[in-house]
Amino acid sequence: MARRLIYRTAAAFTALALAFSAAEAAWPEKPITITVGFGAGGTTDVAARAVGELLSKKLGQPVVIENRPGAGGAVAATALTKAAPDGYNLVATTSTTIALDPQMTALGYKLDDFTYIAAIGDFPEAFIALPKHGWKTLGEAFAANKAKGTLNYASTTSLDRMMTKVLGKQVGLNLVPVPTKGGAEAVTQVLGGHVDLAYSSGAYYPQAKAGALSVLAVLSDRRVAGLPDVPTLMELGYGVSSVNLILYIAPKGLPADVTAKLTAAFAEAGADPSTVALMEKRSLNNIVEVGDKLEKTIRAHAASYQKMIEAAK
């Protein structure tokens, strides 16, 4: 009886030990799910699907892409905080979902709730206007309306409202945001001549290439690859910038070895020629950052947004 118990215990321990070592060695042993915080067909979705396919080749497991749109990615991010940190649940969203939105609206997550895996590509956000005004840069647009004292622009996010508030204070102009449903509508409002300027995160690109729109300034830290002549806000001397990355995150407390494998796979996927070509097509800047460096970047974004919120008050 006693011997039998010993055998059984030993067997159970062996099984357990095997199971543990298997778990350590074998990740990933089942499909990985990337939940996209936006609808199917958007830029984030298209990018995540392309990256997902490369990941599945590198990791030897299928990568399933699901869409869970809502509140600018916040619905997916909130759900992720409740998921297990086992490396099978990732979220793809924009970096502002994490770095800015919780500072603007009460949301169920904060910076510390995530493990930062990778960022691949950033949006070519810009200020646009109709060419008929003859404005070459944002400064010229501001100067032309100095006497009027006010300038309206089609707005799409809380980020652009905050930035223009800071800009307006600097140049002594009342920049009035006209809210829109999103990028496409903002561009339409400018094309139809209903507003003076618009902030657009990328929908303007084909029209700008066709010459129907002037791009006055890029918001990112560096120029947009497809529009090498357009200066950044920093270069124009406004001292503000906004970089919006396509971000891949996991729940906090992800095991170190899983994190290492994931970040390595993402880094490879980001450098793949097919990803580079895709970013070019979607007019995204080719940026790849992973792991600790990325976390520092996101924290720096959050800090600069906080400063901007203060400055906008």
Binding site: G39, A40, G41, G42, D45, V46, R49, I65, E66, N67, R68, P69, G70, A71, A74, V75, T78, A79, M104, T105, A106, L107, G108, N152, S158, R161, V176, P177, V178, P179, T180, K181, A184, E185, V187, T188, Q189, L191, G192, G193, H194, V195, A203, Y205, P206, Q207, K209, A210, A212, L278, K281, R282
Partner: protein, 491 residues
């Protein structure tokens, strides 16, 4: 020119037609089944299309987008449950027709109207894309506000037995539409701390709950109380012919509704549901003596179905002319094209002439495929009337809950859907129109957005309307229509 011909040739390739047929079949199934909706279907289909050639992907997606609109009428007519929200108005006359034994006739007019509207919208896209898009650009926030005002007067036209209760239901719809983040300040309104509500109450939960699921409760009650004959034993009528005479009879309705649908389609933010409401109201307004709308008038079915199908191709006009999506379907088409390196917009006609004409050819072929598939399917679908309600009710209920879940993959949407089903049932019991509720709910957000944009742009000065002749014209029509509808509904 030769590229254009080659493009049309591409559209007729067997493989391309195969993808159209596949898309149309899938679209029809989605359209017919209540609960499963076009956005959900497209969201599922997009990833599949990534692996196809650009034209095949477009053929597949267009097939789904077009056929789901046409299929939505089937269950609206047969079991008073719209398969798609835009078929809600089809119920008003379609179901009474079915009850009078003219189900097949109603299905035929719905199908022919759908194809008619679709062809008109497609031809407008092919021939008038550029001028229509230029026209759409001229519609600014101020014009849009007046259009929305006009659309709200439809509440009076479709209020049913009591104008007051119709208005109350419409106002309730507008109120629910205010849930979500405030447009300007970003402050959450009526969300009670729910992140899921930040974007507003999901349209799908409202439409599935209010229109489909609540109808199942109503029918279940009828079966249990044996007050009403179960759907199965509908009488058969000899009046199921739809020939040349009938076609000529509804041709004016087909034509007017196609124009209404096309015009609404090119304006972003309105969509097929508003188009079917507007066309129905227009047809009712132009009713001749002896035509009783709401009691099985064939023109009612014709108006709703024609307009809602004209919207789909028309909503592609801003996409092809300007590169800007005018609808969910158009946004998804952009994705399908860009993944293959084609950037939609004005330069597309020059850079990808063959592909563009291939897409146009594909859209025309899709209309023909819809006609054939729909005509064959009609015979089968008509058998639905012989399925007992005790089978239909549980199946539709499961589909509704599944559809609600699939869209957002959250139980929250399912709970909301059930909540709206109960609300819809209560509204039905006390004779508050679910249709006017839907008008308020669908139009509310766009009305608020346009109004607030106008106030900002004009600096709060209402006299600027005088500088917008188009807006002035629409205001006058809106006031006239509003007064007329109110008088008519009192009479």
């Amino acid at each position: 020119m030769s590229d254009t011909l080659l493009g049309f040739g591409d559209a007729l390739q067997p493989l391309n037609i195969a993808f159209i047929v596949l898309g149309v079949l899938l679209g029809y199934v989605i359209g017919v089944l209540p609960g499963l909706n076009r956005p959900a279907a497209l969201a599922i289909a997009v990833p599949l299309s990534y692996y196809m050639t650009p034209l095949s992907a477009v053929a597949f997606l267009i097939g789904i987008a077009k056929a789901s609109g046409a299929g939505g009428a089937t269950t609206a007519i047969l079991i008073n449950t719209p398969g798609e929200p835009n078929a809600a108005v089809t119920c008003l006359d379609g179901y009474p027709m079915a009850k009078a034994g003219k189900a097949i006739k109603a299905l035929k007019v719905a199908l022919y109207g759908s194809v008619f509207g679709d062809v008109v919208g497609t031809l407008a896209l092919i021939m008038l894309a550029r001028p229509l898009a230029e026209f759409a650009l001229r519609i600014g926030p101020i014009e849009m506000t007046t259009i929305m005002l006009f659309a709200l007067t439809l509440i009076a036209a479709l209020a049913g037995s009591s104008l007051l209760r119709g208005l109350a239901a419409g106002a309730f719809g507008v109120l629910l539409a205010t849930v979500g983040l405030d447009l300007e300040s970003g402050t959450p309104r009526l969300t009670f701390g729910q992140v899921e509500l930040l974007d507003g109450v999901p349209l799908l939960a409202v439409t599935i709950g209010m229109l489909a699921l609540s109808e199942m409760i109503i029918q279940a009650e009828g079966v249990i109380a044996k007050r009403e004959e179960p759907v199965a034993n509908l009488p058969k009528s000899d009046d199921n012919k739809f020939g040349w005479r009938e076609f000529m009879h509804v041709l004016p309705t087909f034509s007017l509704s196609s124009v209404i649908g096309t015009l609404i389609g090119i304006l972003p933010g309105l969509g097929p549901t508003v188009a079917s409401f507007a066309a129905y109201a227009a047809a009712k307004r132009l009713a001749k003596p002896g035509e009783e709308f709401g009691k099985g008038e064939i023109k009612g079915v014709a108006a709703a179905e024609t307009a809602d199908n004209a919207v789909v191709p028309a909503s592609f006009i801003p996409l092809f002319a300007l590169g800007l999506p005018g609808s969910v379907s158009a946004a998804i088409l952009i994705a399908a094209l860009t993944i293959h390196g084609v950037i939609p917009g004005p330069r597309m006609f020059v850079e990808h002439e063959r592909l563009v004409s291939g897409i146009f050819g594909t859209m025309l072929v899709t209309a023909m495929v819809m006609l054939v598939v729909g005509r064959i399917g009609l015979v089968g679908f008509a058998q639905l009337t012989r399925v007992p309600a005790t089978m239909i009710i549980p199946v539709v209920t499961v589909l509704c809950l599944l559809g609600a879940y699939l869209e957002s993959r959250s139980l929250f949407a399912v709970q909301l859907t059930i909540g709206f089903a109960i609300l819809g049932y209560i509204m039905h019991r006390f004779d508050y129109s679910r249709i006017t509720f839907l008008i308020g709910f669908v139009i509310g957000p766009q009305f608020e957005l346009s109004l607030r944009q106008s106030i900002i742009i004009s600096g709060g000065d209402i006299t600027v309307v005088a500088q917008h002749p188009l807006a002035m014209g629409i205001v006058v029509i809106a006031i006239g229509a509003g007064l007329y509808f109110m008088r008519a509904s009192r009479a």
